[in-house]
């Protein structure tokens, strides 16, 4: 085999690598910091706009196709028993035209949708630099949220309004999926990998969080909520929680001198 042929086959193998599932594994996803452009609207509003547009797109395609089919089904009913169809055979040029023109039309629509989808995809995956980071741990069947100062909540994700929130997520046991209906955002959690999502809580309120990856008998009871609070209210809450922890930790360590058994509860609380 000549050098060129070897190099050629090597290049072909390398180019075909993305077609094989395994190399897709090699890369761990990490948040892409810093948006390259400023968006007018948060991702979930952008999502609704795009979904609306795509629904128009598919409704037009579907209704056109259905109307043409319905017209043919009605207009070409059999009129007498021995009637046969009168569809003409296409010339080679016409056959080619009937392939190239529809393909070009579909392709144009695909590329348009792809461009629109890519834009929103980037907004979802590029995390703003000033994002507030919270760790999420999924387990059968509960959510644990850990704040930067080690305060933890269970099943209730309290966040400050008008601050981008970055969730870094992992699972203790099986695959779960963290879905916030209000923010149109879903991402799986699994052991051995850290995944992320971000969202923009623009309004104060309470919204549903559910698990969206089948995880056993408790799957449908693995739900919680996002509580969006005003910034000052959030800061006050976080500080009081942190104070409570350090207070009980102090008490626990004081008790430890007296009773070694108290150690267990202190560690459990701090976990």
């Amino acid at each position: 085999m000549s050098i060129q042929a070897r190099a050629g086959s090597m290049a072909l193998m390398l180019l075909s690598l993305p077609l094989i599932p395994r190399p897709a594994q090699a890369v761990q996803v990490v948040p892409v910091p810093g948006q390259s452009r400023q968006w007018d609207v948060p991702p979930h509003v952008h999502f609704d706009e795009l979904l609306h547009e795509v629904f128009w797109d598919i409704t037009i395609i579907g209704v056109l196709m259905a109307m043409v089919a319905a017209y043919f089904l009605f207009a070409y009913r059999r009129r007498f028993p021995d009637e046969v169809g009168r569809l003409q055979k296409l010339s080679p040029q016409a056959a080619l035209g009937w392939m190239i023109i529809p393909v070009a039309l579909f392709m144009a629509d695909d590329i348009y949708l792809f461009a629109k989808g890519w834009e929103l995809h980037k907004q979802y995956r590029e995390v703003p630099e000033n994002a507030y980071e919270i760790r999420v741990t999924g387990a059968m069947w509960s959510w644990t949220y850990t704040y930067p100062n080690e305060v933890e909540t269970y099943g209730e994700l309290k966040v400050p309004a008008e601050t981008p929130i970055l969730l870094r997520m992992s699972s203790e046991d099986v695959v779960h999926s963290h879905f916030i209906q209000q923010y149109r955002v879903t991402e799986d959690l699994m052991p051995g990998r850290v995944t992320y999502m971000w969202f923009m809580p623009d309004k104060v309120g309470e919204y549903v969080v559910t698990c969206r990856e089948y995880c056993g008998a408790g799957h449908s009871s693995m739900y919680g909520k996002v509580i969006v609070m005003a910034r000052e209210e959030f800061d006050a809450w976080l500080e009081s929680e942190a104070a409570a922890i350090s207070a009980s930790a102090t008490v626990a360590s004081a008790q430890q001198v007296v009773s070694p058994a108290a150690d267990v509860s202190a560690r459990d609380f701090g976990r």
């Binding site: 993305p18 077609l19 599932p21 395994r22 897709a24 594994q25 999502f47 795009l50 979904l51 795509v54 629904f55 797109d57 395609i61 579907g62 259905a66 043919f72 070409y76 009913r77 059999r78 009129r79 021995d82 009637e83 009168r86 569809l87 056959a95 009937w98 529809p102 393909v103 629509d109 695909d110 792809f114 629109k116 989808g117 890519w118 834009e119 929103l120 995809h121 907004q123 979802y124 059968m140 099986v174 695959v175 999926s177 879905f179 209906q181 879903t186 991402e187 799986d188 699994m190 051995g192 990998r193 549903v208 698990c211 990856e213 089948y214 056993g216 008998a217 799957h219 449908s220 009871s221």
Partner: protein, 538 residues
């Protein structure tokens, strides 16, 4: 009639038509089991809180059985078992499959697999990890008997691979004299392509589920991050097979629909050669789109973007096939018998299914609707309902050739429309609550009480569908024993299975080996007129 007489002749038969009927029986049994579990689930979800069972595990078992049995027990055996076995050799003028003994082995392996799957309802530690069987859940003790799951998939996979080799060889080497590649029925092309896909992709599935059991029982760590494995490896391998599996179902049912439409519209297939190459194009196109099942699974961003694009490209071959299908009606002479009613229903369901797939192709849209009822409703429209309607239409279409008798037209048409309306009442409302956030695979929906009325409506839809299915089954039983005697070519089709065989084709299929004249086509209605160029044999 050439039907076997003793039970030994039935069991040890090597006749592809009898084997085809075994496949049909297996798929109908599976349909009833999986359909019953669907009905139970819908009743459970019809109102908030526990209805039929207080144990979510029982619900999860129904759900696992519904998915696995409908796909692996009903659709694939009906399409690649029954239609491929019964119809394809006759369409190409062959006297049997290329390897009749291998064919018998495939069908008995299928029955073994289905019996194993039914065991899952009986064993105490029944597997409840869904038909997808994602680790690490499927490797925990919560999931039940993972070995049974692996075994069922592997047994059914071996059956599929044997069947696929057999059918591909049959189409390649057993065609009658005068039948070239561009003179094959669309059914033959579609089944052929689907079987090539089975050959390429089934081994990947078998390997991925085998590794599950190796992990769980022998302590290997392929999917265990604690031992250096990776959870996502399974999802990649599984969907590398299971997206093409959608086309393994889709293509054969489109093929049957093409043939039924051509027969009842008495037209040739519009732009036949392009339709053939569009069918073949599904092999490369489907091999590189699996990530759209895992857009939110933590895979790298570049991969999500790339496979959003490749997924959108599916619309090119699919659009060409839909175009050929619609245009085959153009200037046709359409007669509305029962098979045509089912296929018309199938067509409109397929339009809904296909167009609702477009938003799902975009990774960005998936962040909002992943694993919701949007996805569930979409794949039911595009694969489950359309597929079932084409299968039932196809069974009505070949009913006279299977039983020698006619079914009742009135019952057949009523069942088609009850099925069509019923399934729309099920899946339509569920699509819209999916957009509002209803997740898949939920035993209860306490967090979304506002969806209760839509769930209740969907449950009413299942009742309508069930009545349709019961009427259909009754019309078959009634036709089989009481129906009018059929003629050899009741639809005046130009296809070989109608023009050159007895009412019920006997052993060897053709009284004399067919030799087709120059320029013969299974769709040449315009040249020869409705009576057909070759006299139908009685």
């Amino acid at each position: 009639m050439g039907q076997p007489k003793t039970w030994k002749e039935w069991v040890f038969t090597l006749d592809h038509k009898i084997i085809g009927i075994f496949y049909l029986a297996a798929s109908l049994v599976s349909f009833l089991v999986a359909g019953t579990s669907a009905a139970l689930m819908r009743i459970e979800l019809g109102s908030l809180g526990p209805t039929l069972t207080e144990d979510a595990g029982v619900y999860n078992l129904w759900l696992t059985m519904h998915g696995a049995v409908m796909i692996l027990g009903f659709q694939i055996p009906a399409l690649l078992g029954f239609f491929a076995n019964w119809v394809v050799p006759i369409m190409i003028g062959a006297k049997d499959m290329a390897f009749p003994r291998v064919n018998a082995l495939s069908v008995w392996l299928l029955w073994s697999g289905i019996l194993l799957a039914l065991c899952n309802l009986i064993v105490p530690d029944s597997f409840n990890g869904m038909w997808t069987g994602y680790p690490p859940y499927s490797e925990t003790d919560f999931a039940g008997n993972t070995a049974l799951y692996s075994l069922i998939i592997i047994v059914l996979g071996i059956s599929s691979v044997f069947g696929a080799v057999n059918l591909a060889c049959t189409v390649m080497f057993m065609r009658a004299r005068g039948i070239g590649w561009y003179q094959l029925n669309m059914t033959v092309w579609c089944v052929f392509t689907a079987n090539i896909m089975q050959l390429i992709f089934v081994p990947v599935l078998a390997a991925s589920v085998l590794l599950l059991s190796l992990d769980k029982y022998l302590g290997f760590g392929f999917y265990d991050p604690g031992q250096g494995g990776d959870v996502l490896l399974y999802q990649n391998l599984f969907w590398f097979y299971s997206h093409p599996a959608v086309y393994v179902v889709l293509l054969p049912f489109l093929g049957i629909s093409f043939d039924i439409i051509a027969t009842f519209a008495r037209n040739h297939i519009f732009n036949y050669k392009v339709a053939v190459w569009a069918t073949l194009a599904f092999i490369p196109v489907s091999s590189d789109v699996w990530v759209h099942h895992a857009f939110v699974a933590g895979l790298p961003n570049w991969l999500r973007t790339m496979q959003t694009f490749t997924t959108l490209m599916i619309s090119l071959p699919f659009g060409l096939l839909m175009l050929s299908m619609v245009m085959t009606l153009y200037k046709g002479s359409i007669e509305y018998r029962t098979p045509m009613h089912w296929i018309v229903g199938m067509f409109f369901m397929l339009i809904i299914g296909a167009t609702t797939g477009i938003p799902n192709a975009l990774s960005a849209i998936d962040y909002g609707i992943s694993d919701s009822y949007v996805i569930m409703s979409h794949f039911h429209y595009v694969m489950a309902i359309s597929g079932a309607m084409a299968i039932f239409g196809g069974i009505y279409y070949y009913f006279p050739k299977l039983t020698g008798r006619m079914y009742s037209e009135a019952m057949g048409k009523i069942s088609a429309w009850l099925f069509f309306i019923g399934m729309n009442v099920v899946m339509g409302p569920l699509y819209f609550i999916g957009i509002e956030g209803m997740p898949r695979r939920y035993y209860d929906y306490q967090m979304f009480p506002q969806f209760e009325s839509m769930h209740a409506l969907a449950t009413v839809g299942v009742a309508i569908t069930t009545i349709g299915v019961l009427i259909m089954l009754y019309s078959w039983l009634h036709g089989m024993f009481r129906g009018e005697k059929a003629t050899a070519n009741p639809w005046q089709s130009q296809s070989l299975e109608f023009t050159h065989t007895d009412v019920i084709p006997g052993p060897g299929n053709f009284p004399t080996p067919p030799v087709m004249p120059e320029g013969w086509s299974p769709y040449s209605y315009d040249k020869t007129g409705a009576k057909g160029g070759s006299e139908a044999r009685r």
